[in-house]
Amino acid sequence: MSRNPSRWTRRALLAGGASGLAGLWLWRSGFLSSTLDGPIEWLLSRTSFGATAASLDRAKSLGYEETLEEQLHPESLDDDSLERRLSVFSTLGLSGPELKPLPGEAIVRELVAARLVRAIESRRQLFERIVDFWSDHFNVNHVKGQVPRFKTLDDRDVIRRHAFSRFEDLLRASAHSPAMLYYLDNHLNTASGPNENYARELLELHTVGIDAGYSQRDVEEMARVLTGWSVDESEQRFGTFRFDSAEHDASAKRVLGVELPAGGFEDEGERMITHLAAHPSASRFLATKLVRHFISEEAPEAVVRRVAERFSETQGDLRATYRELFSRSSIEAARPLVTRPVHFFALVARRTQARYQPHRALETFEIPLREMGQVPFQWKTPDGYPVEACDWISALLPRWKFAFDVADGRVPALEVEDRHLDEASSWLRGEERALLESTLPKVSGSSERDRRAMALCAPSWHWC
């Protein structure tokens, strides 16, 4: 199962390393030219939380197109064994009223743990990567007020339900999601006291982007459109959308050139969501973001254009958009991307066949992920966890700590067999392996554990 996933020409960066500014400039200007040793390997690196021996074998026998097509239809992939593993989490499937009396902390723990179990174990790997993307795009930090309860609903009924439908459906679901409305204060946005927090991010982060050329006036008008969009916290309908017409500002409005005559109600917001989802700036904005997340931080123009066109042509059909995003020609433009901590953790767990109990999963995941800086759903601001390599790479120590903790058996309730750790070294690049083999034995006092830890510290684990 040895492979050589990312042979990059990196020598000039070594020269540039003497001056970080120069190094960064080279990096930013797309210096990292990569030699694809196989489109299938690249495809798996972008559509899963890391290829395993089994997934690589399967992909090779299916071929590129069929592998992609299979992952584009997650519903066709049997994930029963994952579902059985998740069955210990009793809150994932509950309704709002059922969640209401439960302690928020317990609900959050289950959701976060489930996120990790799914990333590691699901056969619907692309689906989980895509969920990761939209969870950041429509970021809801689950700390505030009732959000711990609403977030489970948002994750299930907004993000996971619509991740492969039309963008408009996803956006509309998010705009009606109690978690989002609460997180960005729109439940308090009323005719007498407008609060523009959600309206601003709906434009800036969720749809058209800051470069679309809207004004502060548009933000204020959008906030007025959304007055009365609130959350039902009653016993029977806890955690559902509620339009409070008494709090809606019914005067005339004009947002992004759309005239909304006086006397409108909830329909104004619905109309604006339709408008925003179909806005040319949105297709461009979303395509750029998808490309930066999955293909290359540089967001090559040709790829962005194709993905944006596909998005527009299909009226925001996300499955069709992903098909373009992961097409051979897009993948040819792929450059190494950083593995964010959840990805890194999943990668290590997948390739070392790590064993853990789902009901103790949070114990296992939480401390390393907090130290590495990415506990799912805990990014505080609505922009979601960053994707830029320079941010994550500036925090290598906690990643190395994780490597040593895994090799030393110090990660709580995580069992990794030494032989599997040894096998995981076969995922290193050839020169990394050769270097470890030639240098480590000469380090006096170094142990087998050091060798295993150092192998997990290698750059290969931090890039995909």
Binding site: L32, E196, Q216, S446
Partner: protein, 379 residues
């Protein structure tokens, strides 16, 4: 490169209040009628009967920042209201990116303003860490800088004990990273691992949902301890988030007051720790924008424009509110709603770089702006 040995080479502590800190609550324009009228539930009291601390007959310091009063009276603290950057979109993310990049309008530059400052000043000591982030990540103001790292946690140090103690093992790791884009980050992380002994520093909070207050206090305390332990580190950066008070900002006893008290107390402690050190320290506290003058319907404030910056140090010409106060009359407000920016934050930061940090090319940190000297520093 030769530098005049006479020019001061202060240590710099850059504290970024992320989320848009409400300037009107940090430097209260207590004589403005509009302030009380537009802020029925969030206006802070005037200095009458000690409700706040009169600074200069025009502005007052909130009681929550009382710990800073001695520094102001002592001439070491300068407060600058109505300052910021000329970006009008009121987006956190854009404003933060622009501020970190050190531009005025776009975030196109691939390097940060503090990184460019470091590039144009020689290190205090060759080969060691030049800037340390007190947060988990290196901030984007240091993007592209060499010899910068994030503070290692005590837990990190403990798990990486073998690495920290074995130079040959570190050399193996360094060779693994040679040629990788993350090579300099890896080298600097190792340097930070051996340079900072966390045993001399207060521990980290252990509870998962530790409050911002505890995190901030800890970050500011640690900054002081690191400054004491490592006089060679030129720059320490701290990012304190959650200043985005859209809801229930409150006045006395409110959420913002708690944040300000933590900030004020933490800053005072930081100054107490660094003041006796032979190498002087200059502290800059800034935010991406201030908040709207009128409060919203939820006892909070939405994104605005002009905010407040604070500068602390023996080299700061303090004891003054430095301002070109535009007033809060409707016509004085930007877009009819926000404090107009009359002082460019970059002028203040550049003056600190040039006059206190010995940077002969401060303009390079802020390339898109003709700098104006405002007399923030002592000559």
């Amino acid at each position: 490169m030769t530098t005049r040995t006479t020019s001061p080479r202060d240590r710099f502590v850059a504290i970024f209040l992320k989320g848009g800190a409400d300037g009107l609550s940090m430097c209260i324009p207590y004589r403005e009628k509009a302030y009380r009228r537009l802020r029925p539930t969030t206006a802070l009291p005037s200095p009458d009967h000690g409700g706040s601390i009169d600074l200069d007959g025009t502005f007052a310091l909130p009681r929550a920042l009382a710990a800073l009063e001695p520094l102001f009276r002592d001439g070491r603290l300068a407060i600058v209201p109505a300052c910021g950057l000329p970006i009008a979109d009121r987006s956190h993310f854009n404003a933060q990116a622009v501020l970190d990049a050190g531009t005025g309008a776009t975030s196109e530059l691939a390097t940060g303003w503090i990184a460019r400052h470091l590039a144009s000043t020689p290190p205090q000591e060759e080969g060691s860490i030049r800037a340390l982030s007190m947060n988990a990540f290196v901030p984007r103001s240091l993007r592209g800088a060499d010899r910068v790292a994030a503070m290692p946690s005590p837990e990190c140090r403990a798990s990486l004990q073998r690495l920290a103690e074995s130079p040959p093992l570190r050399r193996v790791l360094e060779s693994l990273y040679r040629g990788d884009p993350s090579w300099s980050a890896a080298r600097d992380a190792m340097e930070a691992l051996i340079a900072i002994d966390p045993k001399t520093l207060p521990g980290v909070p252990t509870e998962p949902e530790s409050t911002a207050r505890r995190e901030w206090r800890l970050a500011l305390e640690r900054t002081g301890h690191v400054a004491c332990a490592r006089p060679d580190i030129d720059v320490l950066t701290v990012e304190l988030d959650t200043w985005d008070t859209h809801v229930q900002q409150g006045a006395i006893g409110g959420a913002l007051e708690t944040k300000l008290r933590t900030l004020g107390d933490g800053l005072a402690e930081l100054v107490a720790l660094t003041d006796p050190l032979p190498r002087p320290t200059t502290i800059a506290v800034f935010t991406e924008f201030g908040r709207r003058v009128a409060e919203n319907g939820n006892g909070g404030t939405d994104h605005g424009r002009g905010g407040v910056a604070m500068f602390i140090g023996r080299g700061i010409a303090g004891g003054r509110v430095i301002h070109r106060w535009p007033g809060l009359r409707p016509r004085a407000l930007e877009d009819g709603r926000d404090v107009r920016i009359t002082i460019d934050l970059r002028d203040l930061l550049a003056e600190v770089l040039e006059k206190r940090l010995g940077n002969p090319a401060a303009q390079q940190a802020f390339p898109e702006h003709d700098l104006e000297v405002l007399g923030l520093t002592r000559s």
